[in-house]
């Protein structure tokens, strides 16, 4: 780290924030006087209180906040050999972000079209897959939550839980067996006389998009089911008795009620799709564009870690933007999305 000030800021800034809250809480207790609740130590007892403080301190600061802040700082540094780090050449720079935009750390005359296009296609396809997954899941989620008998729901749930725990690499592998040039789908199409030449599904990205849709379909299912399940069935009956057509029941009663579930599922599916690494590595052809493998290559092919950190942050920004948009659009809070 070149700049001692930022080092202090990264390591002591979060501590200062915690301290401010602790002091504010203490001041508030003092104002409340005798009416105040027992303080943290009195309430938990010393041993438990210390366990809570140490555990949450380590997790929140050392595992979540500091690595994240450090990565942000790191992405604004040039790539240097270890001996020169902290030396005069270790300055703050936008070179890594400039590379993402223009394909060169200095020249800004033309766009880095490959990476920008890959980024755009990743976001666009992830949004599409999120929508498709919602459409695929909604009928079954509604059926299980409102229509089916409890015994049937138990059986369906068990059938859903099992594939949920199958590794994403094995899922991607299954899709390669299906979509490969010598794969099952090509064999069937040729056997049926529909095509003569084998189709390169991997090169056309068909396999990748299908595989991603498949991989995260259940991530959408469970939040959606939970949300629809909490809807009082009488509301649907009432609407039906009043003569509402089926589509209005869904549009005006079920969906508004299930909004938190939709938001939760959509956020998770989008995040997992946009951040998918195994599927594009396994199901992509040589020309496949997906952003995560590009980030991966910054580390393992270009060996440029600061640039990799910058790319990772670009991806993180996209995911944060998506979460914010979903929160706005659906008017839900963060605690409704993550549960």
């Amino acid at each position: 780290m070149s700049n001692a000030f930022t080092a202090y800021l990264i390591f002591f800034g979060p501590l200062a924030v915690v301290l401010v809250f602790v002091l504010a809480a203490m001041a508030e207790r003092r104002r409340a006087g005798a009416a105040a609740e027992p303080d943290f130590f009195a309430r938990n007892g010393w041993p438990v209180a210390i366990f809570l403080i140490v555990a949450v301190g380590v997790w929140m600061l050392v595992m979540i906040v500091l690595p994240a802040l450090y990565m942000v700082d790191y992405s604004f540094h040039p790539k240097l050999p270890p001996s020169q780090r902290g030396g005069p050449r270790d300055i703050y720079t936008l070179a890594n972000y400039r590379y993402f935009l223009f394909g060169s750390p200095t020249d800004t005359s033309q766009w880095n079209s490959t990476h920008l296009y890959a980024f755009w296609i990743t976001i666009f396809v992830s949004v599409l897959i999120t929508i498709v997954n919602f459409a695929v899941c909604y009928p079954l989620a509604y059926f299980m939550a409102q229509v089916a008998r409890p015994a049937a729901v138990t059986r369906l749930m068990l059938m859903l839980v099992v594939p949920y725990w199958i590794n994403e690499i094995l899922r991607a592998f299954a899709f390669r067996v299906l979509f490969g040039t010598g794969g099952v789908i090509n064999e069937i199409l040729i056997g049926a006389g529909l095509i003569h030449d084998r189709i390169d599904f991997l090169g056309l990205d068909v396999a990748l998009y299908a595989g991603l849709t498949y991989a995260y379909v259940l991530i959408m299912m469970f939040p959606l089911y939970n949300a629809i399940e909490s809807l009082d069935r009488n509301q649907i009956e009432a609407a039906r008795d009043l003569g509402a057509p089926w589509w209005r029941i869904h549009a005006e009663i079920v969906l508004p009620h299930a909004k938190p579930g939709v938001a939760s599922g959509a956020t998770l599916v989008f995040m997992l799709c946009a951040g998918a690494l195994a599927a594009p590595l396994i199901l992509g052809g040589p020309k496949t564009l997906w952003f995560t493998p590009i980030v991966y290559d910054r580390f393992f092919q270009a060996f440029n870690w600061p640039q990799g950190a910058a790319y990772a942050l670009v991806l993180l920004m996209a995911c944060m933007a998506f979460v914010l948009i979903v929160m706005r659009l659906f008017k839900v809070s963060l605690s409704e999305i993550a549960r």
Binding site: R43, W59, I64, N167, L268, A276, A309, A312, A338
Partner: protein, 266 residues
Amino acid sequence: MISRAVLGVYLVLFFVFLFGPLVVMGITAFNTPEYPQVWPFEGFTLEWFAKLFQDESLMYGLQNSFVIGAFVVALSVPLGLAGALVMTQIYARARGLYYLVVVAPVLTPGVIIGISTVIFWKDVTAWTGMKSLFTGFFLATLGQSTFIASYCMLIFLSRLQRYDRTQEEAALDLGASRTQVFLHILLPYLRPASFSAAVIAFLSSFENYNTTTFAILADKTLTTVLAGRVRAGLTPAISALAVLIIGVSVAGAVLYEITRRREAPA
């Protein structure tokens, strides 16, 4: 009547979509050709399963995955528990920010957690002279626990919502210490949630690829070996492994469901 038929067709299609690829992959595990092939079925064989157990790096990765999974459970379940308990007690003005911080790992792509863990600990271990800590094993455990602890916390939180505080007051009135209340009332109440959290934590660790592939450095886990194999070329041995994992998952899911139902009636 028509809507019934539409529903039936949809259900069949959905489950064909869900299980079809897995069934196809499963068949290739028992077929003799070198390339995973469903049709023609040239002959039944268990050769690919045998190959699996002779594969040393796969076995090594498997062993590592188990050990890392155990450490992740041991770390993230207590962290999640502490996180949830602090959430119920924290200073009201700080709650929003606290929630944002501890839930953020769930909404962050795994690759980013892996990358930041590696970058951070590489420098920290170098400055503090603890370079021997900079191992794939240590980093994978930490990186995975970062977000798995959030899963555990969410599980504990939902159970804590139904916690009856009057039990604690009764115990305190009867002369129990705060620590005794924690050990003999709160922890037993959270036992089913701890069990769920441990299972979820182990499974999430075991099948994780995105975070692990960065954090594991030069070491290996089952998923990283597997990813390397699949990229290098297709062999029915991987289908065989998938069949085994599916078998274990089915057994595990059924066992988990049974235990859960027994632990928490209705």
